[in-house]
């Protein structure tokens, strides 16, 4: 028992050490957004209809190399500045997968089956659009525009900050530190639960459950959720499943894991209203599952 806990502790610390630099970067970028992007920015430059902000959000998320830990504070900062929620949801779904580093590691891990790589990126883009649309239908179109600006955050009233001013940078560092501690506590919670699952739960037993075309993608999604891997490393783990699981289940693992897992659920819950988190999770789960099963029947 002690030995198992010791192993859990090792995995826990390992996840924290691995993610801390990315959380720091996320906190820093969200502070940059907070201080330098003027309040009217989005209302000025974005189309009036939030729906039209979805495609540019998808394009932008493909450009930025951010992972799932770093993106959450940044998105909250942006939404706080008036970015439509559906665009935020697109970022949360797409950014951890559609980026050059993840592309490189997926290529390397799945060189023997490029179909998996193509499906991973194609489906991720599709899921992002679908989730954005669902969030638009259920939240953006119904709630009043500014409800998210009531998300508490300081430095409310300041005018646009100058880039070369000491006070701007003081704000950025102060806010980065606070952001790091706020995200950090949820992250620690998530990493703790994930590391306990890693050592206590027999993945072998779970794998033995998989037989039907309906169940096996579901199992891979559960595995992805529990394992809470970084999106740059998950391709290698998925490659080791390749013999035991059908292709589409592997794809389900590869697209669902970066979008949702134990550690980022904890962070989402700490950062966004429960209503949004629930809707977001339900949308991601159902879109991923249904599209994977549908493709399976189309013969992939």
């Amino acid at each position: 028992m002690i030995s198992t806990l010791n192993t859990s502790g090792m995995i826990f610390l390992s996840i924290i050490f691995e993610s801390a630099p990315f959380i720091l970067m996320g906190a820093f970028f969200s502070s940059l957004v907070l201080v330098f992007i003027p309040k009217e920015f989005f209302s000025k430059y974005l189309p009036k209809n939030p729906l039209l902000s979805i495609p540019p959000a998808l394009l932008l998320s493909a450009v930025f190399p951010v992972c799932e830990c770093a993106i959450i504070p940044v998105i909250r900062g942006l939404v706080r500045k008036g970015m439509p929620l559906c665009a935020g949801a697109v970022f949360l779904v797409a950014a951890p997968i559609l980026n050059p580093i993840v592309l490189a590691s997926s290529f390397y891990a799945f060189r023997f089956d490029l179909q998996v790589v193509a499906l991973r990126f194609g489906l991720a883009a599709f899921v992002a659009l679908a989730v954005g649309l669902l969030v638009y239908i259920f939240l953006d179109s119904r709630t009043s525009k500014n409800s998210f600006q009531t998300l508490p955050m300081s430095f409310d009233k300041e005018p646009v900050n100058k880039f070369f001013s000491l006070s701007s940078w003081k704000k950025i560092f102060d806010h980065s530190i606070d952001e790091f501690f706020t995200v950090g506590k949820f992250f620690i919670l998530g990493a703790g639960i994930a590391s306990l699952f890693q050592t206590m739960l027999s993945q072998q037993a779970i794998f033995n459950l998989s037989d039907s075309a309906f169940i096996s993608p579901m199992i891979m999604m559960v595995m992805a959720y529990i394992l809470s891997l970084c999106s740059t490393a998950d391709a290698f783990v998925a490659a080791s499943f390749a013999g035991t699981f059908p292709t589409m289940s592997i794809v389900a693992f590869l697209i669902f894991g970066p979008m949702l897992d134990i550690k980022n659920t904890a962070m989402l819950l700490g950062y966004f209203p429960v209503r949004f988190v629930m809707l977001f999770m339900a949308a991601v789960i159902s879109v991923v599952y249904l599209s994977v099963v549908a493709l399976q029947f189309l013969g992939f």
Binding site: T7, L13, E18, P21, M153, F241
Partner: protein, 309 residues
């Protein structure tokens, strides 16, 4: 104030990990630059906070809002809970003895045995090329036809090269095979562990009957008899959460004296055998001895790091 203190402690834990080298028990070497970055950031931010506190004492009136960001909306319990949560990794980092991942975890996560690639009688160069480019992972031999990836490959290499600046030498595995075959006893060193084992199982027919020497920890599963065990290594991509275990079946008399999880060095003859309908690479032990846990017990997908941009 407390935040400055916690940031400092985080920096100290990370410096301790670097100083003692323990960090390699937690992260793959390719993640180390990021780890240095976070260590430096923690140091910098704690120094910055400390400086603010000192300044504030001098000119209190000028700084009405040292930081109002999170104080505003958190409940009374928010702060204590936050610091309590941050105390957990700090305490573990300072006081928990580092420990290698062991058989108990292998049982939960599963082990990947080296399987022998199915071979056709003759080796025309085309097929060999396809086979060698497939020596990346381990369980797909049965499931993927060589033909299917053959046509994709040049195009894929081209894409990698053009778009990502990644270029891998297609003959790398060929060269490795030849270099290994020249050795009298094939030594599987720690650095090349994954690649060498892949080459051996991919070209098992060439290596059949050759003498090999490798080390790892002892793992046993339920199906194994008394004179069998698996020499196992833990492979890490980024952190321990993505660990996977690679094992090679060893047979020989007297293997039962080595306790599970202990480290051994095996010298033996390469062979293959049908286990549960799968053609498995195995080694008939000539001489097996107990060894100390090596300095760098984990193995890494070395080629991957080499080709990262």
């Amino acid at each position: 104030m407390l935040k400055a203190f916690f940031l400092l402690l985080l920096a100290v834990v990370q410096v301790k990990m670097i100083y003692t080298g323990e960090i390699l028990y937690y992260l793959a070497p390719q993640m180390l630059p990021f780890f240095y970055f976070s260590t430096f950031s923690f140091l910098f931010l704690s120094a910055y906070k400390a400086m603010l506190i000192l300044l504030q004492n001098e000119l209190q009136k000028n700084d009405p809002c040292e930081c109002g960001c999170s104080e505003g909306h958190e409940s009374v319990w928010g702060k204590p809970v936050m610091y309590a949560l941050f105390t957990i990794p700090l305490a573990l980092g300072f006081f928990m003895p580092p420990k290698l991942l062991d058989s108990a975890l292998v049982e939960k996560k599963g082990i990947i045995y080296q399987q022998v690639a199915p071979r056709s009688a003759d080796h025309d160069p085309d097929e060999r090329k396809a086979a060698q480019d497939q020596t990346i992972d381990h369980e797909w031999w049965e499931d993927y036809e060589f033909e299917s990836s053959k046509s994709d490959l040049p195009e894929e290499q081209q894409t990698l090269k053009d778009e990502l600046g990644i270029w891998y030498e297609p003959d790398h595995y060929q060269q490795l095979t030849e270099a290994l075959l020249e050795q009298e006893v094939i030594i599987v060193d720690d650095r090349g562990f994954l690649d060498i084992m892949l080459v051996i199982s991919a070209y098992q027919d060439k290596f059949q009957g050759r003498e090999v020497e490798l080390s790892g920890f002892v793992y046993r599963d339920m199906a194994m008899s008394e004179n069998e065990l698996a020499v196992t290594r833990t492979a890490i991509t980024c952190c321990l959460a993505d660990a996977s275990f690679y094992g090679i079946l060893i047979r020989g008399d007297g293997l039962n004296v080595f306790p599970t999880d202990s480290w051994i060095k095996v010298r033996g003859i390469i062979d293959q055998d049908l286990v549960f309908d799968q053609n498995m690479l195995m080694i008939n032990s000539i001489e097996t001895q107990a060894i100390e846990t090596p300095e760098s017990p984990y193995v890494y997908p070395y080629l991957y790091r080499q080709y990262m941009p």
